[in-house]
């Protein structure tokens, strides 16, 4: 694993990042996109303070917190899967990947319950600006979780070290976005 940081594969500055260069392009793009959403959300909050307070009161902060913990633990499992893979233990690698995936499914389950609860109160994406942004941001993030699960499955199918690293990197990005999204959308009020 030491060769990555030293490898100069003609990717220019991206060669100085550990892992697949194009995955870092994706990570950076996603951070910019979500960063823009976060700032847009904050500005809208200032413009509609009452709407945002009312909307946030309807969110389940605990469910969001549980989800943070699920994803963080899932990220740990993914990182351990990469270690196992590096040690040449494919069986253990697959087991950790399965663990990471299960926790990811748990995240989606909590998310779905949250959405269902909102839907039963008649709240949807068109309700108001707060919920438009809430659904766009969390929905777009959840779509990444689904894609992440697909990627983890592909890695488990073909668990080369490179695949494991690249797949885990995507999964960590999904994590990274959530740990920023959670305080901004659920906690700050």
């Amino acid at each position: 694993m030491t060769d990555h940081s030293e490898a100069h594969g003609g990717w220019g500055a991206l060669d100085h990042l550990p892992g697949n260069p194009l995955m870092w392009v994706l990570i950076l793009s996603e951070l910019v996109v979500f960063g823009a959403f976060f700032v847009a959300f904050s500005v809208s909050r200032v413009l509609h303070p009452a709407m945002f307070l009312a909307g946030q009161a309807k969110l389940d902060r605990l469910a969001g917190g549980v989800n943070t913990m699920l994803l963080l633990t899932s990220g740990l499992a993914a990182a351990l899967a990469v270690s196992a893979c590096a040690a040449g233990d494919t069986r253990r690698c697959r087991r950790w990947l399965a663990g990471a995936g299960l926790l990811g499914v748990g995240f989606l389950g909590v998310k779905l319950a949250e959405y269902a609860g909102k839907a039963s109160q008649g709240i949807g994406i068109d309700t108001d600006t707060f919920f438009t942004l809430f659904y766009l941001m969390t929905g777009f993030h959840a779509a990444h979780v689904i894609l992440g699960l697909v990627i983890l499955a592909v890695v488990a199918w073909k668990p080369s070290l490179e695949n494991a690293e690249t797949g885990a990197a995507f999964w960590h990005m999904v994590d990274l976005i959530w740990v920023l999204l959670y305080p901004i959308v659920y906690l700050i009020r």
């Binding site: 990717w11 392009v25 068109d126 777009f140 779509a143 894609l147 070290l161």
Partner: protein, 149 residues
Amino acid sequence: MSEILTKSAARNIFYGGTAFFFIVFAGLVAHSVSTVNAMSETHPVTPSVAAGKKVWERHACIDCHTILGEGAYYAPELGNVWVRYGGREDAATAREGIKLWIKSQPTGVEGRRQMPHFDISDAELDSLVDFFKWTSEINTQNWPPKVSG
């Protein structure tokens, strides 16, 4: 990590990422289509509105005018022409006004943009006006900002 592997992984990330964004896009479009269809339940595209759209297309109106801001910017916006003619207050007068305007073209006034003369029957003109009326009732998020279009 070998050179070839990095590049094939890069290719896979490109294809995978593109597929992902496309699926998200298609999902959102599907949601929008269902929203639009739900709206069209209460605000149906009647046969006359559909016929009016055909009249609109047969004469390539969009290659001078705009409708909901899309078109050729050479002639006025027609998405809200029904409102501009006061159709919300007095439908009959607005209908006659729009039809008369179309029938009286071209003006031939020197130095003024000319709308060509089109052979449009009275029934077709009524459909066209129905199409304009239907279009003016679309929820455009309050666009255009002014009734001037």
